[in-house]
Each structure stands twice: as C-alpha cells, then as structure tokens.
Amino acid sequence: MTGEARSEKFVMARGLLVSIVDDDVSMRESLPDLLRQSGFEIKAFSSAEEFLASNCVSQTKCLILDIAMPGMSGLDLQQELKRRGLGIPIVFITACTDENLRPDVLAQGAVECLVKPFSERALLDALKAALK
C-alpha cells in the first residue's frame, strides 16, 4: 500500500467505531489489529447477543458481522437492528460458500457480503462504501 493510500484510509477511518461480531476467535483477534492499522476504532464481540448488550450499539458506525453464529445469527441481528430503527451499515463476512447467500443479504440491505478468506483491500473497500 502506498503512503498516499494509507493516508487516505487513515483520514477516512479516524474516530469511527467499527464493531466486529464473529464467533471465530481468529477473526476477533486479527481483524481489529488490521483495521486499527488503518486508524479505525474497533470493538470485537463474540456473539450478537454480546453486541446488543454492550453500550457500543448506538456508537457503531459500521458493523462487520459474521452470518452463521450459534444463537442469534448475523441475519437475526440485522433484523433486530432494523426493528430498533438503527440503520447501522453492515458488512457481512462469512465462511459459507453458498452462492445464493450474497444476493440475499444484499437484498436485505447489507453494504457488502465478503466470503472468507477475503483480502485486506476488499475489506477496506467495503468499509469505505459503508462509511460513505
């Protein structure tokens, strides 16, 4: 990444809270570090229920959300946020390779649906689109 690009991301990300909800510990450890390098403020949660119970919901500017999780799924959380009238932009991430999934979640209002493994570039582009 060039210094110019890095600077652009940093400016874009500064002071924005991005919450990550994923039951996979690897994602909860690696994504925050990666995104903090780009200047984002990051909070990570292991379940939808934990996120809803936190005091970050209203401050979250973008949600990186796993689809398949034990208990409340990412799609359930999306519906719950809608029900509460919270229009947080959502970037779904999933390890599921079902081709029908992406069009479905995009139709439900998600900004993007990234299939794991995804590149840093794809993730930052999705965040950029979400934070526009």
Partner: protein, 542 residues
C-alpha cells in the same frame, strides 16, 4: 446280518469226516477263530469240521438275507413264506438253535424266521436216512459249533463295525479338517489322529512332541502357545484357543483348538481334544472385512458431498485469519516505527491459524482417505468431538442447535475412522431430518454414556420428522432411503460397522417429535480379542 463282509459266500454242504469228539472240535474252532481271516473261510472251515465230526449228516450254514450276499440267495429267502410258528422260542431269544432236518420246509421257514429276528446265522443238521431226532452227542456238538460260530461271526462283525467306524471317523475328520488328540500333561505323551498330521503337514510316523508342535506354531504366537500350555498343565480344566501355524513353505494356517481335561485312574491329567483347520474361514472373514471396508469407504466418500460446504467453512475460517494477520504483520513492519512485538504476535497467530487449517485437512484425510481397517484403543468422546468439529459448519448452515452431553467413558477397542463415519452419518441424517422444521428449534443432542450393561452408548437425538414405526428395521436395509438424493447405504453400512465392533445400532421414535439413533459397543475391557490367540477357561474368556 447288517455288517457282514460282502465277501461272505454260502458254503456248499460238505461231505463226511469222522473221528472227532466235542472237545477236539471246540479246540479246533477256537484256534480257527484266533487265526482270524475272512468270515467266509472261517465258516467254511467250521462246516468242514462239523461234517468231519458228524459222518452221515449234511450240514449247512444258513444266513439271513443280507446286502452283499449272492442275489439268488437273497431272492430265495425273500420268496419263502413263514409256515406255522415252528422254532419261535429260539428265534425270539436269538440263542443257538438246533434244527433236525435242513431239507424240510420247517427249516426253510426257520431260516426266514431267523431272518425276521436278525439272527446272524442258523446252523442245521440233516439226517440222511430215517427221520429221527439228533443224538445227544450230535446235539451237544452242534450247539458248541453254533456257539463258537456265533462268537466268530460276532467278532468279525465287531471288527467290521470297528473298521467302518474308524473309516467313517477318518472321513469326517478329513471332510471337516478336524483332527483329534490326547495329551498326557504329566508325561507330555501326545497322540494324534491322521488328520492332525495332515493339518500340521507332518509324516504320520513322526513321534509327536510339544517341541515338534512348537516348531509349527507361528513365531508371533509361540509366547502365547507356551503360556497356554503352562496354564492348563497345572490343573484340570477345559481350554479353547485359536492360533496360527507357519508351514515350512511359510504359508500360514489358522487352527482352532478345544480340549477337555480328565483325571485318569492314577490321578494323572489328560486332555482329549480336537484341532480344526479354520484357515479357509479366516481367509473368508478377512476378504469379507476388506469388502466391508471398501463399502464403508464408498459410503464415506458419498457423504463428502454433503459435507463440502462444511469443509469449505472450516478451511476458510483459518485462511481468513492467516490473510488478516499476515496483512497486519506487514503493516506493522512497514510503519515508520516498526511494531516488532505486534508483528511477532500476528506472525504467531498466522502460524496458529495455519495449523488450524492443517488440522482440518488432516481430519479430512483421516476420515476420507482410503485405508484398511485399524483396530486400536480409543476414546469415543474424542472421536465424536472430531466429527462434530468437521460437521459443525454444516450443522450451523442448517440452523441446527447442537448440544453435547458427554459422560467420561472408558476406552473402547475399534476402528476410529469407521466409528467416526457412523457418528457423522447419524449427525447428517439427524440434521437432514430437521431441514423442514420451522415451527420449533432444530435441536440436536449428541449424548454418550456407559449403559446398564457396561457398554459405551452414543445417541443422536433430533427433533425432526421421525419415521413410520413399521419402517424401523427397513431403515437399516441397504438401498432403503427416504431422502430424494440418498443412496440408502449410510445406515446399512453403519450397522455393519457397529456389528463388526460387537455392538448394535438401533432407532427409536422420541416421545416428542423426532427420533433417536443409538449404538452401543463393548468397552476395551469387555471386548473379545478378534484375532490372535484366545484362551478360554471353563467357557470363559480369560
């Protein structure tokens, strides 16, 4: 006369000799009997003696109709009809009898009566000349003759029966590949039947010793062989074992040994037993095992498609972590003030996630790779957890809530991959049975426990559609399926696998919705050894 030598001929009436007393006749008859020889020759000689002793009379030996005798003789007897009830008493008690006129109808009738009473023979005396009863000398002589001839006939019949019995036994032993033996534990004197010599490929004239037997025992089974000998030598018991033999040409045979211990009059311990060559059966079992293994592999591979999404999920998760961590690491190192500690940490995570992906591949290779059955001591809970790890993505995709209720279990003896295949099959079936369930939680419970008969039980309980009660056994039939895309071999193969582990697999309808499929298998402590030497004592596996 059922067992009479086929070579017996009816002696012709003999002409007259003279000059013998009853004692001399008896001595000569005894000598004739001791000398042995074919029955026909013996009877002929007896008649010759009697003729010589009773000049002026005609003697004959009349035999009942018997297979092997000349057809004309048998037909003659068959044509005769019993006239009156002459000679009934003697015929009934089968004692020696004296008949005065062999040429009369009475004698012929007597002959037929003898036949009806299964008498071995009747001896008659004809008076040439005026009709009169026999003298007391003649009577005594003929009675002695009849007695001695009866002994001779009985002996020959006994010898014949013994020969036939021995031949029959030898034939049965050959056909069944089973030989008999006796072993005197105190002196190590061993007696073998011919068939055991054949099984051990030893010359029948070679003296049998334990050392000789040991040279034929497969080297890997020799320690067990010695252990068994020493164990049963000390006290009277029954024993049973199976071990291998190694022939001089290095071929292997499997023999099954059973023996019963007895004390002789002097208190000495002797074993009487049988050795059966079970090589063919064992080879067939091995072939069957290979075929079963092949079929199990086909069934496993066929379930690979159902798991493909789950497998991709399990691999993609760590790959995503690897890429994110590696990207972060590069960023940390590329900063104006490189964050070396952060870079190290992300590198460590990269390795951890790489190993996680590696584990998935290893599990896949273990479960779906083609290899023969391998029996080992294993923890069923651990095996089940590996399967759950592999299929959790699929279960999650199907919105199945999995609950694990695992008791601490003793180890079991079995093939890890095959048992995992059964567990995977039950999990996928349960998941599929709930695919249409929308009005309740798709709850799946996998439970392990030690059951009341000290066997390890694993149950998979679903809340799906269940099955028709009358179909409960058909579920396990090959090619029976209720799924649109199923081959119908999963449960059939699963049952076959569990039965090969000396266990059972069954299905029950729940009280509520859904069904529970369970299998139970013996613990390692309760599993009979499937191969090698098995020693039993008084019907119990030691």
């Amino acid at each position: 006369m059922k067992n009479l030598d086929a070579s017996v001929r009816i002696p012709e009436p003999l002409t007259v000799w003279s000059g013998f007393g009853t004692a001399q006749v008896g001595t000569m008859i005894s000598r004739l009997i001791r000398l042995g020889g074919p029955l026909s020759v013996l009877l002929k000689d007896l008649c010759g003696l009697l003729d010589a002793a009773l000049p002026g009379h005609r003697n004959s030996v009349l035999l009942p109709m018997t297979p092997g005798l000349p057809r004309a003789y048998n037909e003659f007897l068959q044509r005769r009809q019993v006239i009156g009830d002459e000679w009934p008493g003697k015929a009934r008690d089968q004692s020696e009898a004296l008949v005065s006129d062999v040429m009369s109808d009475t004698v012929r009738a007597s002959n037929v009566l003898a036949l009806a009473q299964s008498l071995p023979a009747c001896y008659s005396l004809t008076n040439r000349g005026e009709a009169r009863g026999p003298s007391s000398f003649n009577t005594a002589l003929v009675l002695q003759f009849a007695h001695m001839a009866g002994v001779a006939v009985a002996r020959v019949r006994s010898d014949e029966a013994l020969k036939r019995s021995a031949a029959f036994l030898a034939e049965v032993q050959r056909v069944s590949s089973t030989g008999s033996f006796s072993w005197c534990a105190a002196t190590d004197e061993i007696t073998w039947s011919e068939e055991i010599y054949r099984i051990f490929e030893l010359h029948p004239e070679v003296p049998v010793t334990l050392e000789l037997i040991r040279t034929r025992v497969h080297p890997e089974d020799v320690p067990l062989f010695h252990k068994m000998i020493e164990r049963v030598r000390g006290y009277c018991s029954d024993f049973e074992c199976e071990h291998r033999l190694q022939m001089p040409n290095h071929t292997t045979k499997y023999v099954h040994v059973v023996a019963h211990g007895n004390r002789d009059r002097d208190g000495g311990l002797e074993y009487i037993g049988a050795i059966q060559d079970v090589t063919q059966r064992r080879l067939l079992e091995e072939t069957l095992g290979k075929l079963r293994s092949e079929l199990a592999h086909v069934a496993r591979v066929s379930s690979l498609g159902a798991l493909s999404a789950s497998i991709a999920h399990e691999v993609n998760q760590p790959l995503a972590g690897i890429i994110a961590n590696a990207s972060t690491c590069l960023k940390m190192l590329a900063a104006d003030s490189p964050d070396l500690e952060g870079a190290r940490e992300t590198a460590r995570r990269t390795i951890r996630d790489g190993e996680r992906a590696c584990d998935v591949v290893i599990r896949l290779r273990m479960l779906f790779g083609k290899k023969g059955a391998k029996t080992e001591s294993l923890d069923l809970n651990s095996a089940a957890r590996e399967v759950i790890a592999l299929s959790s993505g699929e279960l999650r995709r199907r919105r199945v809530n999995l609950r694990q209720e695992f008791e601490d279990l003793p180890p079991v003896i079995g093939d890890r991959v095959q048992l995992q295949q059964v567990i995977l099959n039950l999990l996928l079936n349960a998941s599929e049975a709930m695919s249409g369930v929308e009005d309740r939680s798709r709850q799946l419970v996998i439970r392990t426990e030690l059951d009341e008969s000290e066997q390890v039980r694993l149950s998979v309980e679903d809340a799906g559609v269940g099955f028709e009660r009358q179909d409960v056994e058909r579920l396990f039939e090959a090619f029976y399926t209720t799924k649109s895309g199923g081959m119908g071999i999963g449960l059939s193969v699963s049952r076959s696998i569990i039965e090969s582990h000396q266990g059972r697999l069954w299905a029950e309808l729940n009280h509520g919705p859904g069904a529970t499929f369970s299998f139970s298998i013996p613990t390692a402590a309760g599993t009979a050894q499937p191969t090698g030497m098995v020693l039993t004592h008084c019907g119990r596996i030691l």
